[in-house]
């Protein structure tokens, strides 16, 4: 059957073949041009929306960050770097707290997330169940923080267990460890995603080989697993840091006063209750700069795990 419809070989010299095609090429030139425009044309609406509502606002944010509170709402705005001076001097502690909380929460993520990802990749067959449970952090830190707050209140659902362990729930509340735990719980899936992606590319045979050659478990980790999953660890760490740095609701509900000096919270107060848009914008630029730098690094290390 296949032989019957196979075309007969056409005997034609090279020159005649080229001549036969040439008119088709000139005819197609316009088509090729149109074809080249289709791609950018299809992406154009998305690009326009992004420019209007993402790039222009960020540009305007930079401009506003150079203005002063005193003459913002009047004409003749005076532009200077005074707001940045304020951020780097008077509000420097807030930057430090933000970065500190972000770093510590990301370290927690790594310590807890690495074994989780390893077991998930190597041992667990019921991944659908795991994914379903991991949807809860996806709903956002608001409900997580709210739930954790309620657990620690006297008379909460775990009151009996906490009593048994001689832990006073209210002493955990409004503290740094609790804030860190809330942040880490929210960003946990990001770490598992990145580390898991790296670990699933590591051949289990390599571990077996190391074990056969007499390596102890910690040696297998240090010499085999860690070097091979380093890119995933870095990408996950930086991605978690990028999310943790914009933390807002967790310190409100679970943090004490020192934790509530986080940049996004101060920024919101400055903008929405003191109407000091210049200072708020300067804080926003600093925060965004840290987040972008970190995300850029993480994308570089994850080798396009996000499909970008």
């Amino acid at each position: 059957m296949a032989r019957a419809i196979a075309p007969r070989p056409i005997e034609m010299s090279a020159t005649t073949a080229a001549e036969a095609i040439r008119p088709a090429i000139t005819q197609n030139k316009r088509k090729v041009w149109i074809g080249r425009l289709i791609g950018p044309g299809l992406a154009l609406p998305a690009a326009v929306v992004t420019i209007l509502f993402s790039l222009v606002p960020i540009g305007y944010l930079v401009l506003v960050s150079l203005t002063h509170k005193s003459d913002f709402f009047f004409g003749n705005r005076d532009y200077s770097l005074a707001n940045y001076d304020l951020v780097f001097n008077r509000y420097w502690q807030n930057v430090v707290v933000t970065v500190r909380l972000g770093l510590l929460a990301s370290i927690l993520n790594l310590v807890w997330g690495y074994p989780f990802a390893y077991i998930l990749i190597r041992r667990v067959r019921y991944r659908e169940v795991v994914r379903t449970f991991m949807a809860f952090p996806l709903f956002g830190p608001l409900y997580l923080a709210f739930g954790l707050y309620y657990i620690l209140l006297p008379g909460g659902p775990l009151a009996g267990l906490l009593d048994f362990l001689h832990i006073k729930g209210t002493s955990l509340l409004y503290s740094e460890p609790m804030t860190l735990f809330g942040m880490a719980l929210f960003t946990f899936p990001f770490m598992v995603m990145n580390v898991g992606a790296a670990l699933s590319n590591v051949d289990p045979m390599l571990e077996e080989a190391a074990k056969t050659l007499g390596a102890k478990p910690w040696q297998v980790f240090l010499r085999v697993l860690f070097p091979l999953s380093r890119s995933g660890i870095l990408a996950g760490f930086l991605m978690c840091f990028g999310w943790n740095i914009g933390v807002f609701i967790v310190p409100i509900l679970l943090g004490g006063l020192p934790q509530q000096r986080v940049l996004s919270l101060i920024l919101q107060q400055k903008a929405m209750s003191q109407f000091d848009y210049g200072l708020a914008a300067a804080m926003g630029i600093v925060l965004m700069f840290i987040a972008f730098a970190v995300t850029w690094l993480s994308l570089k290390f994850s080798r396009g795990a996000l499909g970008a």
């Binding site: 074809g35 998930l120 949807a135 809860f136 739930g147 954790l148 598992v192 992606a197 919101q268 970008a308």
Partner: protein
Amino acid sequence: MSAIAAPSTRRSGFRFRRRWIGDILAHGYIWFWLALFALPFVATTIHSLELPEGGYGFEAYRFAFGSFKYDLLTSFKVTGLTILINLLLSVPAAYAFVRYPFPGKGALLSILNLSLYTPAAVMGLSLLITYAFLFHIPRSVTGLVAAYVVGSYPLMLIPIIVALRDLPMVYEEAAKTLGANRLQSLIRIELPLLGPGISAGVLLTFVIIFNEFLVTLFIAGPNTQTAALRVYGLTRTGFLPTTAALAAIMQLVSFIVVLSFFKFFGSRYLKGTYLI
């Protein structure tokens, strides 16, 4: 070597038990974390069922469906509009990125993804001042939807790009050979095959936007309060069972959407976006 040559029964029994304990520890660790993920939701639900005079009941939910109903409606309306616009923008764009390579593609993709990495508070602030002092548009549904579209658009784009990359050209070529034009092959061949990728994008957008409160806090007006913003506002004023009921309803709606998505499509297409 000697173990292979003459395995003693005692030693292999010990090994078996050690492996058994290792299994319990490993799976126990996983389930410990899964329990922690679900714990806040469970606690919130229990709290919402508590009655002021003691005991349990659905009293709080009766209050929840008073004025909260309108916030929920606003939330559904805004989320639906965002998903629709996201779809209209991202299907052509994903098609362009995968099927029509053009110069500057990588840069454009990075710019589109930019808003995904902007901290929400910064995004809210930048949109607040832009709406108020540059575009001069009042606080409205339009502004809210525009902000959501920009913020959640990459979440839609990435799964579709991933699905489109996995789709071999063979089907399109076959359609073309059989006489279909570009539009016909897109509608009848590719869109159905891209279904799971597109619905993964829809799911992510829904879950993120439905629960978004931080950008909303900056740019929502008096008539555009969403349900998530209402919950946020209430958590700042006190921890009543009614607040817990609202939070439980929000989580329950989101969770049902996620579960039904997993049931119909599986979680494969969410790979690389949030879940492993």
